[in-house]
């Protein structure tokens, strides 16, 4: 029996983020006062403590800052996926996020590789932003 991969719960901070992902859109909060993008979602700007922010569509482009190939999975659901790539990427807009690198060439990933967002469907139509290498498919 396949154990389903974990699906995050949306909460008051993150609901717009996960709702946009269901529409294949990557959105970030952008501070209306100092202009800083932030990730993960939160009530106030960690740079200037402004309570004003807009959810904006971002490019979905980024660069691999570092990565690892996981050989020992944390949960039974991930065991059939090993080896898989967990990466920290620098989004073009500034913030960093954790992602998997997905796609047939994922295990060949290197620091500095350009990546582009894609969306992985999990249980109940939930969609998770994921990134794939964008070496030769730059749009």
């Amino acid at each position: 029996m396949t154990i389903e991969l974990p699906v995050p719960s949306a909460n008051a901070d993150s609901q717009p983020y996960w709702a946009a992902a269901r529409e294949d859109r990557l959105v970030l909060q952008k501070c209306s006062d100092c202009g800083a993008y932030r990730f993960y979602p939160r009530y106030l700007c960690p740079d200037c403590w402004s309570e004003n922010a807009d959810w904006v569509d971002v490019s979905g482009r980024g660069t691999v800052h570092s990565f690892t190939i996981v050989a020992r999975a944390p949960l039974p659901a991930f065991r059939e996926k090993v080896p898989y790539v967990v990466a920290i990427i620098d989004l073009a807009e500034g913030p960093r996020m954790i992602t998997n690198i997905v796609g047939d060439d994922a295990l060949g990933v290197a620091i500095g590789d350009p990546v582009a967002v894609t969306f992985e469907t999990r249980a109940d139509g939930f969609k998770l932003p994921q990134f794939q290498r964008a070496l030769e498919t730059a749009q």
Binding site: H65, S66, P74, P83, Y84, V86, I88
Partner: protein
């Protein structure tokens, strides 16, 4: 109270370790109690002499108010008690809290303990799953990271920026093991080579099994009192000269950098309070949950140049008798013991013993000033302490 008001005012006067390794006949609370009893015996004190207790957290026995439970278990009714949670940095922060309380007259003698039965109290799979609590539940867990995978990304970035190699990281593990073989209570009893580390099972590339800390049953304890009181006690006191902490993030995506962390600031605060610098350190016990970590901490403490941490270990400088500052003389968390906050607490225990000069074959010659660095989370929370066998 200025931080410098604490300098020379308090001392560690007793240290204790529980039985270590696989200890299936004992609970986590029992391991804490055994270590506490040994620490009080070491100090020549009785339970009634203690009026404060600080402890950390337990993943195997997750009581909501662990500090209160431990006091009850030990039959103590102190006027100061707390359970503190700053991950692996907790033992350092507990030492700082104890020092502040004693220096300001809120307690006379404080017992500090930590320990868990992580090896036999839960299954290995459950232990790994419990530790995923360190990652973000919504923005990290869905991608299947592990604690080793976060540290692996730190290692990969250090390799990318400085040319640090897997062989250099393996040398950290071998150094720890060589020292553990000289420690009668260490979990690991057999020698390893760099080749053994490089060929051990991959956990999260570039970290292999032997690049990772142990999962032990272990408890540790130390006793803090005023420098004045310390002079009348059985054991040679280790005086607190400097201590500092610094916190930059919890989740690695929010870290300001993957190669520079808050250890530099916590170390700077400790050195400033002590009025000392890296050249004054005789022995250093550095938190070593993964082989990359002491390399970075060595650099951040100023004990070597940025990027030169790997070379330091590979060249054998970290060994007792290696002609430089020996690192992790008890074997660290990679070879002596790791059980929650007890892992870093043993670094304090070892520093005290080195300053007393009682470490036998692993004794650092003329060890007068020791540095301890502990960190929690994913290089998130840092605490550095400087101890000495004389007031500074």
């Amino acid at each position: 109270m200025n931080p410098s008001d604490m300098k020379n005012k308090v001392a560690i006067v007793g240290v204790g370790e529980s039985d270590i390794g696989k200890v299936p006949n004992m609970t986590g609370l029992g391991l804490n109690a055994q270590a506490a009893k040994r620490a009080l015996d070491d100090a020549g004190l009785k339970p009634g002499d203690v009026d404060g207790l600080l402890t950390a957290y337990s993943m195997t026995e997750p009581y909501f108010m662990l500090g209160s439970v431990l006091c009850e278990y030990l039959g103590m009714t102190p006027r100061l008690n707390a359970s503190m949670v700053v991950g692996g940095a907790t033992p350092g922060v507990m030492l700082k809290s104890a020092a502040q309380a004693i220096a300001s007259g809120q307690a006379d003698t404080i017992l500090v303990t930590a320990g868990e039965n992580r090896a036999t109290g839960v299954s290995r799979d459950q232990a790994v799953q419990n530790l995923t609590a360190v990652g973000h539940p919504y923005f990290e867990h869905p991608y299947g990271p592990t604690i080793p995978s976060f540290y692996a990304m730190i290692a990969a970035r250090h390799m990318h920026e400085y040319g640090t190699t897997r062989e250099q990281m393996a040398a950290v593990a071998v150094n720890a093991r060589n020292h553990a073989l000289l420690h009668p209570n260490a979990h690991m009893k057999t020698a390893i080579t760099v080749e053994d580390v490089l060929t051990s099972k991959s956990i999260s590339d570039p970290l292999n099994m032997l690049d990772c800390c142990l999962i032990s049953d272990a408890g540790g304890a130390f006793v803090v009192t005023s420098a004045e009181r310390a002079r009348d006690l059985a054991a040679d006191p280790a005086y607190l000269l400097g201590i500092g902490e610094y916190h930059t993030h919890e989740h690695l995506t929010c870290a300001p950098s993957l190669t520079h962390f808050g250890a530099e600031q916590s170390g700077g605060t400790a050195f400033q309070m002590a009025g000392l610098g890296p050249a004054d350190i005789d022995v250093a016990e550095l938190y070593d949950c993964f082989s990359i970590v002491p390399i970075i901490e060595l650099e951040e403490m100023g004990l070597c140049e940025p990027g030169a941490g790997g070379t330091y270990f590979e060249a054998g400088h970290a060994a007792v008798g290696g002609g430089h500052v020996p690192i992790n003389t008890h074997g660290g968390m990679m070879s002596h013991a790791h059980a929650g906050a007890a892992g870093g607490l043993f670094a304090i225990v070892e520093a005290v013993r080195q300053l007393r000069g009682v470490c036998g074959q692993r004794q650092v010659t003329n060890a007068e000033v020791a540095l301890v660095h502990v960190e929690g989370g994913i290089m998130s929370s840092h605490c550095t302490a400087i101890l000495a066998n004389q007031p500074g």
